[in-house]
């Protein structure tokens, strides 16, 4: 179920102006990434209909939500767009059950009750249904806020930094719940974040927003390989992102081996079981290039291939991609590039330490990998 979203708006919001043209037609997570104050929340408010754009159009699944030229503006309650606010905004005078059911009032009671049970189970809220929000923990509140938005069966779900201000343990607890939103039948999610870790874990598509406008749109691997300058520092420079699967047990206590065609690729122990899909991020500045096959070094991963791309980095260095089955990026100095004689097609060897590869769980969008999905009724992923 893909509802394509078309946005082309200007929003004046002192002290800045937001100018965004954007098309989202992918299911899964589209992460709006950018520094704080870049206008990401304003964009979500505009899409939700809480702010009227001063110019432009917004369309969702063929329906016009905003069209300033024709003076059309559909109010938020007719848009069918769910919103998980950064400050959650749970209704303090209603129980968890009352909060969850608030947006489901128009559906037949039997269907509503079935949804309530299913979503309560999906988000681990069964025992909390009669509590008031002020008696919930921070993580529980967030789960209620997400469940409440989904209970209204939105065509699109907006999420504004739902993990911000949580400590690391709580974030780790919540991420699997968020990953469930990638199951079949879930609405597409537009997710605002300024956290590189969330980006790596959740994003299918990345939209980089900075200075009030869209800087880049693309799959996560493409954007992280060549991040726009406004977010390059936050992301730790360019990086290679690959999707893989944990290989069966290898006998190493502190390492996992990944199934990558043509090579063994070692990463630090993830704790994920064999067969689990993972996403690996290899920072380009941690990749060492060599003209000859290196002798034995401490770097466990040696990948070889011809130079497939060379570009001058903004900081004066050179980014070099080797075609090792995928494009592996290395950030080296201009001097190193000259010494190695880097030109397109030249075969080189790359050294990557297992410890420098960030590896995150990446539950697949297909149903088999997602926890309690079979307990949720049709279409409720």
């Amino acid at each position: 179920m893909t509802a394509s979203l078309l946005v082309d708006v200007t929003v004046h919001r002192a002290p800045f102006q937001l100018n965004v043209a954007l098309e989202v037609d992918q299911p899964g997570f589209t992460v709006l990434f950018g520094p704080s104050g870049a206008g990401k929340s304003t964009l979500l408010d505009t899409i939700a209909g809480l702010i009227r754009p001063s110019r432009g159009t917004i369309r969702l699944a063929g329906t016009v939500l905003d069209d300033t030229a024709q003076g059309r503006h559909q109010p938020p309650w007719r848009r069918g767009i769910g919103y998980v606010f950064q400050d959650l905004r749970l209704f303090p005078h209603l129980s968890v059950r009352g909060n969850l059911l608030y947006g489901a009032r128009r559906r037949p009671p039997s269907e509503r009750d079935r949804d309530l049970e299913a979503f309560a189970r999906l988000f681990g809220l069964q025992k909390l249904l009669d509590r008031r929000p002020h008696r919930l923990s921070g993580g529980e509140r967030r789960r209620v806020a997400i469940g409440r938005a989904l209970m209204a069966r939105p065509k699109l779900l907006l999420m504004d930094e739902p993990l911000t201000s949580l400590d690391a343990d709580l974030r780790a607890d919540l991420l699997p719940y968020l990953a469930r939103l990638r199951g079949p039948g879930a609405p597409p999610v537009l997710y605002v974040s300024h956290d590189p870790d969330e980006l790596l874990r959740l994003a299918d598509t990345v939209v980089v927003i900075a200075d009030g406008t869209v800087q880049r749109v693309g799959p996560v691997a493409a954007v992280l390989a060549d991040p726009p300058p406004q977010v390059a520092r936050a992301l730790g420079g360019p990086a290679t992102v690959i999707e893989s699967v944990i290989a069966p047990d290898n006998g190493e206590p502190d390492l996992d081996r990944l199934l990558i065609p043509g090579t063994d690729f070692w990463v630090g122990k993830t704790g994920a079981p064999a067969g689990a899909p993972v996403r690996v991020r290899i920072p380009a500045r941690d990749v060492v290039l060599s003209v000859a096959p290196p002798p034995l070094t401490s770097a466990l991963n040696v990948l070889s291939g011809p130079v497939s791309c060379v570009r001058t980095a903004g900081s004066g260095g050179v980014d070099v991609a080797l075609d090792v089955g995928f494009d592996l990026w290395a950030r080296i100095s201009r001097r190193s590039a000259d010494r190695l004689g880097v030109v397109l097609g030249r075969p080189l060897h790359a050294l990557v330490k297992a410890a420098s590869a960030d590896t995150v769980d990446r539950p697949a969008t297909s149903d088999h990998a997602v926890g309690n999905i079979d307990t949720v009724p049709r279409n409720a992923f």
Binding site: P76, W77, R79, G80, Y83, F91, P92, A152
Partner: protein, 227 residues
Amino acid sequence: MSDAEIEALRLSLRVAGWSVAASLPFGIAAAWLLARKSFPGKTVLDGLIHLPLVLPPVVVGYGLLLLLGRNGPIGRWLDAGFGITLAFTWQGAAIAAAVMAFPLMVRAIRLSLESLDRGLEQAAATLGASPLRVFATVTLPLAAPGLVVGCVLAFARSLGEFGATIMLAGNIAGQTRTLPLAIYTEVQTPGGEAAALRLTLLSVGLALAALLASEIIARRFRRRDRR
């Protein structure tokens, strides 16, 4: 207590109760307009609502009598069209009390509407709730502490209304002689001091009970809405 005193008490409760009940919808509407909307004449409306707070009650009562009396423009229309007489009836007393108490009620409700988190109303809208439903299921319940305080203040003010009541409704035993009027009458009557004292203590007790009840209810709401 004599029958007349009990009658005065019952009449006072009835007048104050109706005063609050009848003015509550208007109080909510006025508070909402003043808290949420900007429109030409807002300052004038605000001033008009607060006028009874600063005018001598007798002046308000006389104004009401001019409007609602049998020869007043509204009174004549009510009499001819519906056979309703307000002047010198207990309903007239309730209207006088309502007008005098209105500013207190509007102030309390307006304050609670202004301090309400608008984000919750936005959240309700994104969950598909129409503005009317948002008002009924989010705005009003969250403004409930202010509604309670406003109603209690208005009730207490209505119980004590004297000047406007005597102008519009007179001082008719068993019909418009509320507690304050009864006290006044007893004091004017030789040998009525004991009865006046009883009624005075009764008034104090009623007012205290109302304030206490409002505090308890408001505290319960605050605990409920704690976030």
